[in-house]
Symmetry: C2
Subunit: 357 residues, 2 copies
């Protein structure tokens, strides 16, 4: 395995920002993208962290993304708004959308915000967690280009279509769920290819839709639930499509220009997202909610585990990684480190063997 390096968070954030500015991003949209990438990189979601910056720079330079998108927020009703992302970095539009949703929810009890003319926004959890930080329950979803077979299908149809939920926990860190509706991200396939490992069963299929555990043979992913219950994962992928694309009049997964690997790097992809915030003060009340979360999470974490297993709440693994990376720095894959001009010789950061993830 190649060496990877570890970089202090502030160093990484500065390099990401510099790279995006160099590629033509406005200060505001670059700052939003850095914030979202650092959310993922800090908590160990490396598939949606710093490694994406090279792609974003590519599509800023190629003209797919507007460097200086003018966000347009249109309030449609007491609890509804739509953000036009101006075909810029999706992170910029998504943070604004959650800001608006929280403000609407403060007034109306709940706020639902659609986003149109957006693009890849990194980790959906980056925005859901902002609702939790504002004391609210958050839900964020997006669709993406086709890579996941429908249940029983022999072709890619849905994207990995994440569902992210967050809520204040009554403790230092929120409850956070950010899950793809496929079993694994495509990134895992790439990693297993490079490591020569065998995939779990029922997570991927070959170009003909036949399940395979050989990462070299993978042509598409399978929905979470496996061969017996993948209809549930596929239907949840549809929830992401319906909320993010169809409700907004944005582009559905199967009609979307490929994020990477396609010919067209110039045309905007017309991606939509959906963001929801709910204010506990209009339901059981903030204090009741946070006390209830504390009791619930304490009971969950105290549940007896099977031999060799640990029972965790969603987010627990991420906060553990965040603490470890705050001390030890954020590991960067060699390609991203090279792209950012970050390597041991030049920056003096720690060089360590990268653990498989």
């Amino acid at each position: 395995m190649k060496d990877s390096i570890r970089v202090p968070a502030q160093v990484l954030a500065d390099r990401l920002n510099g790279a995006l500015l160099d590629a033509g991003a406005s200060a505001g949209s670059a700052a939003s993208a850095v914030r979202a990438l650092m959310h993922a990189s800090r908590i160990g979601v490396d598939s949606h962290g710093a490694r994406l910056v090279e792609h974003y720079c590519t599509v800023l330079r190629s003209g797919r993304l507007a460097g200086d998108p003018q966000l347009c927020v249109e309030r449609r009703a007491a609890a509804a708004a739509v953000v036009d992302g101006g075909d810029g970095l999706g992170h910029h539009a998504a943070y604004r959308a959650m800001d608006v949703a929280v403000a609407l929810a403060r007034e109306a009890g709940v706020g639902a915000v659609g986003v149109v003319r957006s693009s890849h926004f990194g980790a959906a959890g980056a925005y859901a967690i902002e609702a939790a930080r504002a004391g609210m329950v958050g839900f964020v979803t997006t669709n993406a280009d086709s890579i996941v077979a429908p249940h029983g299908g022999a072709t890619a149809f849905h994207g990995t279509n994440p569902l992210a939920f967050a809520a204040p926990s009554g403790g230092a860190r929120p409850w956070l769920l950010d899950m793809a509706t496929s079993s694994i991200p495509f990134n895992r396939v790439s990693l297993f290819r490079s490591l020569g490992l065998t995939l779990p069963e029922d997570v991927a299929a070959d170009e003909g839709g036949v399940p395979t555990s050989d990462p070299q043979a993978v042509g598409m992913l399978l929905p979470v639930g496996g061969s017996d219950f993948g209809f549930k994962g596929a239907a949840l992928a549809g929830v992401a499509t319906i909320f993010s694309a169809i409700l907004q009049g944005a582009v559905a997964d199967h009609e979307m220009i490929r994020m990477v690997g396609g010919d067209d790097m110039k045309t905007p992809r017309g991606m939509g997202h959906f963001v929801l915030a709910i204010d506990p003060d209009r339901f059981g009340g903030q204090a009741v909610f946070e006390a209830g979360m504390q009791t619930y999470l304490a009971a969950l974490r105290a549940a007896p585990a099977r031999a060799g297993e640990t029972v965790m709440a969603p987010g627990d693994r991420e906060w553990r990684v965040e603490a470890e990376r705050a001390r030890g720095g954020i590991p960067l894959d060699p390609d991203t480190a090279a792209f950012l001009g970050l390597d041991g010789a030049r920056t003096g950061v720690t060089v360590a063997r990268k653990a498989g993830q």
Copy 2:
């Protein structure tokens, strides 16, 4: 296998209504329960259909449920309300909650309604589909008493906690997803016990939390996603708990009186639900939404299938069953048929071998 009988829908609905009235339900709350049970029985969700009536009659008679619940709707903000179910049949409170959510969404773009002091409400999809019939996107969830292990856990913690979504499809029947966040309902275990069949792997565990495919040994269910990805199903069960119980200040799964099999049949269970409606007219527009759904569903249904498989949209199987049952009647298990006084000799309905489900 025992014989089962098939009953015309109207005959069944009348018998259900009569049984509930006999057990002390008010006309209004009985009508709501019948409507929800018939939704499930018509579309083949027999676990949540007519067979539940005997249980509901038992808990109406035992005093757990109020026969004549006074629903109280409290509007909390432009887009938020709470329905107090008065400890009656949960169906009555849940239908009212969705009516209120749709009305709020008509004004505010989205409507979120919590339900407190409720009880088992049957199939969550019964209420989600009402949003779709009103031209809206619906989401409904509830928690339930503990029967599903956390991921890696050796004890039951969450309920089967359903997530139900529905949307107008631009066609005759809505898009409808109504899924437990466990792989299977406990009802499936009971069925497999009586049939002497082996369960799929990774859907259930014994009393010690060790996965088993022997239905006789099952002590708890496992979250959807199986041994590798059950953390996703467990987290989605948490979404149901957080929205339905903790946000409303209602009773969490692990603290809830057992629906069946416990000692206490007198104390109300304090169950909560959560209901959301979203008006497409405040986002991309109703016409754009329905046209988008038509295009999306046509593409999904046209996706090439693996050998021996069929690609279906959520709800397709249910509408097929509905059409078949509209012609051939609704099959009833022998115990429920006897409870309702419906048997071939007395009613002249068709007697048929019941297919495994």
